[in-house]
């Protein structure tokens, strides 16, 4: 058994000047993977096979197999292709890509060179949300260093392979984390997802084949090249191999970003990494994978492990690894309100069920908070949510519908009680 807690991503964490190129090269096998691949030790096909064999799944939330995604680019197409690093990290509760940018940005860049080689892309972009001003600086600096060292640009390491990388700053919209919304935004348009098919791998940025991968996903690739798929699979579970960064927030002693193998026990993460709950607090509910993931009750959290399968078995999702501890002092009605308000605010508005559904739910929650909703409205939210699911171009509609369904299903009593109190008080409960 390999070591208990691998360092695949945050390899330079804790070192002095962790994000410097020198640190990455000296302490984290920096840029050895591209030397290996561009030096001829691996063909494109072998690289894709290795990533497929590693079982690496997209870390942005959907968990789609990365190697498989790369194969969707039509190889017969000889025109320009693009690789985009989705660093828009916008799921509420998630802040792990930000940590990667802060601690180990070069590993993302190296991963991009490898991915670009695999899909024959000669141009790439890192797309970061506006709010990450400091991290944008780190990335731009790292790109500069990589260019200066010959790891980016024309004829990288004398291999004949060209790859240019630019940074692009978004305006901070949730929807620009959806890959086709991101592409629209990158094209200078309003950030709205595009109707599929065609999929980006066939017709993406500027109508050309484009692969969009999450920051953390790309950061895994150099390690897989250096250590092999087999060793990667020693971490995590059969269906969820490797490590994962979890962004943990809430009433804990040490909330933060932790890299642990997939399949890691939730309780152990809370106790060992996070130092347990703050004194006097206990778990009321758990959001295991960002604001769009269905809530779990304390009972459902029993025996929970942090992997795609365990989450699916509880009808929720690992998502981007954003774990939010809802302790007993939180008011669920208010939490649901801010959750829905977020999605209603961020819905791009093009698909009717999402545009109108998120707004309607938000409208109902206004009524729950100020006491003007009717008791039947709480159950109505579940019906509305049901018809918002699986009907739209992108998953934002589902992202709003899923938590709503779980709140109403599991915490209906709490919502009804709040509404009754608000109605009796003639306004917000204080």
């Amino acid at each position: 058994m390999a070591q208990d807690k691998p360092r695949i991503i945050l390899r330079t964490a804790g070192l002095a000047n962790p994000r410097a190129l020198k640190t990455y090269i000296e302490h984290a096998e920096g840029y050895t993977a591209i030397k290996k691949v561009l030096g001829g030790a691996m063909t494109r096909e072998q690289l894709i096979e290795e990533v497929k064999a590693s079982g690496l799944r997209g870390r942005g939330g959907a968990g789609f197999p990365t190697g498989l995604k790369w194969t969707f680019v039509p190889q017969s197409d000889t025109g320009p292709k693009y690789l985009i690093c989705n660093n828009d990290e916008s799921e509420p509760g998630t802040f792990k890509d930000r940590e990667i940018c802060t601690v180990n940005p070069h590993q993302v860049i190296e991963g991009m060179v490898l991915a670009a080689f695999a899909i024959r892309a000669s141009k790439g972009y890192i797309y970061t949300r506006w709010e990450f001003q400091a991290e944008i600086g780190y990335l731009v600096e790292a790109i500069k260093e990589a260019y200066a060292a010959g790891f980016l640009g024309k004829n990288i390491l004398g291999s004949g392979f060209d790859f240019d990388l630019d940074h692009y700053t978004g305006a901070g919209a949730y929807i620009c984390g959806e890959e086709t919304g991101l592409i629209s935004s990158l094209e200078g348009k309003k950030g709205q997802p595009k109707v599929k098919p065609p999929f980006p791998a066939v017709s993406g940025y500027l109508g050309r084949p484009t692969i969009v991968n999450n920051t953390e996903t790309l950061a895994n690739v150099p390690w897989i090249v250096n250590h092999g798929a087999k060793e990667f699979r020693q971490y995590g579970t059969e269906k969820s191999p490797g490590s994962k960064l979890f962004s943990i927030s809430g009433a804990l002693v040490r909330p933060g970003v932790y890299e642990v193998p997939l399949g890691y026990p939730f309780e152990r993460l809370i106790q060992e990494e996070c130092g347990g709950y703050l004194p006097g607090r206990s778990l009321q509910a758990l959001i295991p994978g960002g604001a769009s993931a269905p809530l779990l009750t304390p009972e459902e959290v029993q025996g929970l492990t942090l992997d795609y399968e365990a989450m699916a078995a509880r009808n929720t999702m690992l998502g981007s690894g954003a774990i939010m501890i809802i302790d007993d002092r939180q008011v669920l009605a208010e939490l649901l309100k801010v959750t829905i308000e977020f999605f209603a605010h961020e819905s791009c508005g093009q698909c009717t069920p999402c545009r109108e559904g998120t707004g309607w739910l938000n409208n109902i929650m206004d009524g729950v908070l100020d006491g003007t909703a009717k008791p039947g409205n709480v159950e109505l939210m579940r019906t509305v949510a049901k018809h918002m699911g699986g009907k739209t171009i992108c998953a934002l509609s589902d992202a709003c519908a899923m938590p709503v369904t779980s709140y109403v299903q599991k915490f209906s009593g709490s919502l009804q009680a709040y509404l009754a109190q608000a109605t009796a008080a003639g306004g917000h409960v204080k």
């Binding site: 508005g349 093009q350 109108e356 998120t358 309607w360």
Partner: protein, 504 residues
């Protein structure tokens, strides 16, 4: 044979609602359904625009696929089994409608779209339930004067994006966008911009609800009182196929809408939309006027007017007679006219009447042409048929130089397309006897014109136009004439020839 044309001949057979359908490879289920007259409810899809896939109304069930899919973006594949009528699909349609109605104002009683509104239609088809939405609706800007022909109500808008795509793809003006997000999203123009092109009313047509309304038609008539008949627009030589909407019982025309055809696709221009007004009472010449020997001009019956004209004709030598012919009449009218005057009576002085400022070759790239006559081509052919030069040339000045004793003039139908018309009519007043056959009521003010005959409008007669490319446009189903005295050229010529036959 090229690859592309080979591809277009390949076909695909799939099943829609248990019915086998064969379509060219690459056809979407929605387009296939439309060809087969199977109606799948939709708002954003339009056969003349690219696919947006945003209304999420056209959901259908494909066998062995977990989720419902939108028919507009679903390419038919061999053996695919699609249903648009399963209970789960019906339920999805009902909810799609419900979402569209969440923030839609229920102002149908004052909305021009009522009666031809897709929301109303679908409510009757898949709805008929009590809405569960009991919260206050989102309020948005209303009655925005967004273009010279348009008024926009963003509250009624269901954000189907058709107008935005029309602006991008058809007129390529890109004047419209969707601003803001979520349920605050509104259609609008960019700051300080307005929609200024000649195709604005198409936005009213493609708007499935009452968000875009026509300034011209707004609040004039409830659409269910209108009767529509097919015709061909006389506004230019493109000859767009149209439907004329009128209320025949009160002899009033209200609007034109484009009718899908290979000539004009789905569209027509705003200029063309105005080609109903001249047929309404207040603008048209409603009865004959003749000037007696005493110089007194009076209203007459049609019979009197024709008898007077015949009498004048009998007194004139054919060399003193001239024909002045505009290009607004049907091929059948020209044939009868020239057969009678040229072939039978031997008149050889034939002049074409054209707007001197016209730029006949002008074309806006979409539909509107610089030749503002519907049948220039038909006139040419008719002239050639009687052995006269068919060359298109303004003969107005030449006619004046000849100063004939009797002029029979077929006036232009659309005065607004003939800016020089008032001046030309004034000059015709100088001639001894002009018999002007026209629908244009403004001719009345030219008191020197000795003889005026009221004509039918294009929507009131049968016949054919030949457009700029020689394509036939049929006028096959006329409205009753807007005035009882109005005649078409064929009728006038027949009556004249009868009178002359008796006189000779």
């Amino acid at each position: 044979m090229s690859e592309a044309s080979k591809g277009s001949q390949e076909t695909v057979t799939f099943t829609l609602n248990d019915r086998e359908i064969t379509v060219p490879k690459g056809t979407t289920v929605m387009a296939a359904a439309r060809q087969q007259d199977v109606y799948i409810p939709h708002f954003c899809w339009h056969p003349g625009l690219k696919i947006a896939g945003v209304c999420r109304f056209c959901l259908v069930k494909v066998d062995n696929r977990p989720k419902l899919e939108i028919a507009c973006n679903l390419t038919a594949t061999p053996g695919m089994k699609v249903s648009s009528v399963l209970p789960e699909v019906k339920e999805a349609h009902k909810w799609a409608l419900e979402f569209h109605l969440v923030n839609h104002p229920l102002d149908c009683p004052i909305c021009d779209q009522a009666g031809e509104c897709k929301l109303q239609d679908y409510y009757m088809e898949v709805g008929k339930y009590k809405s569960e939405m009991d919260r206050p609706k989102v309020l948005k800007p209303k009655a925005l004067e967004i273009g010279s022909e348009l008024v926009l109500d963003t509250e009624r808008c269901i954000l189907c994006d058709r107008c935005v795509r029309f602006e991008e793809e058809v007129t390529k003006t890109g004047a419209l966008g969707i601003f803001n997000r979520g349920d605050r999203a509104v259609i609008g123009t960019y700051p300080d911009k307005k929609i200024e092109h000649n195709y604005q009313d198409n936005l009213v047509d493609i708007c499935p609800v009452g968000a875009f309304t026509s300034r011209d038609f707004r609040f004039k008539q409830r659409v269910w009182f209108l009767k529509e008949k097919p015709a061909v627009c006389p506004g230019c030589s493109t000859g767009c196929h149209v439907d004329v909407h009128a209320k025949p019982q009160v002899r009033t025309y209200f609007r034109l809408k484009p009718r899908e055809s290979e000539v004009n696709g789905f569209w027509m221009c705003d200029k063309g939309r105005k080609t109903y007004k001249h047929m309404n009472q207040e603008q048209r010449l409603r009865f004959p006027l003749l000037t007696e020997a005493s110089g007194v001009r009076r209203r007459s019956t049609v019979d009197e007017a024709l008898a007077a004209l015949a009498a004048t004709m009998l007194k004139a030598d054919k060399s003193e007679v001239a024909l002045l012919v505009s290009a607004a009449y049907t091929c059948e009218e020209y044939a009868a006219f020239f057969e009678f005057f040229v072939r039978s009576l031997g008149v050889t002085n034939v002049y074409q009447w054209r707007e001197p400022t016209e730029d006949r070759e002008a074309f806006d790239g979409l539909l509107y042409r610089g030749d503002h006559n519907p049948n220039t081509r038909g006139l040419s052919e008719a002239l050639k048929a009687v052995g006269l030069p068919g060359e298109v040339k303004d003969g107005f000045e030449a006619l004046l130089r000849q100063a004939p004793k009797l002029v029979i003039a077929l006036g232009p139908e659309l005065a607004f397309q003939f800016p020089s018309l008032p001046a030309q009519l004034s000059r015709l007043e100088q001639l001894p006897f002009v018999s002007l056959w026209t629908i244009d009521g403004a001719a009345v003010s030219h008191v020197g014109l000795k003889h005026l005959l009221p004509m039918k409008g294009y929507a009131e007669k049968r016949g054919r136009f030949l457009n700029f490319a020689g394509k036939v446009g049929e006028l096959a189903d006329p409205f009753p004439a807007g005035s009882e005295d109005a005649r078409d050229v064929v009728e006038v010529v027949a009556a004249l020839s009868e009178i002359l036959a008796h006189s000779l």
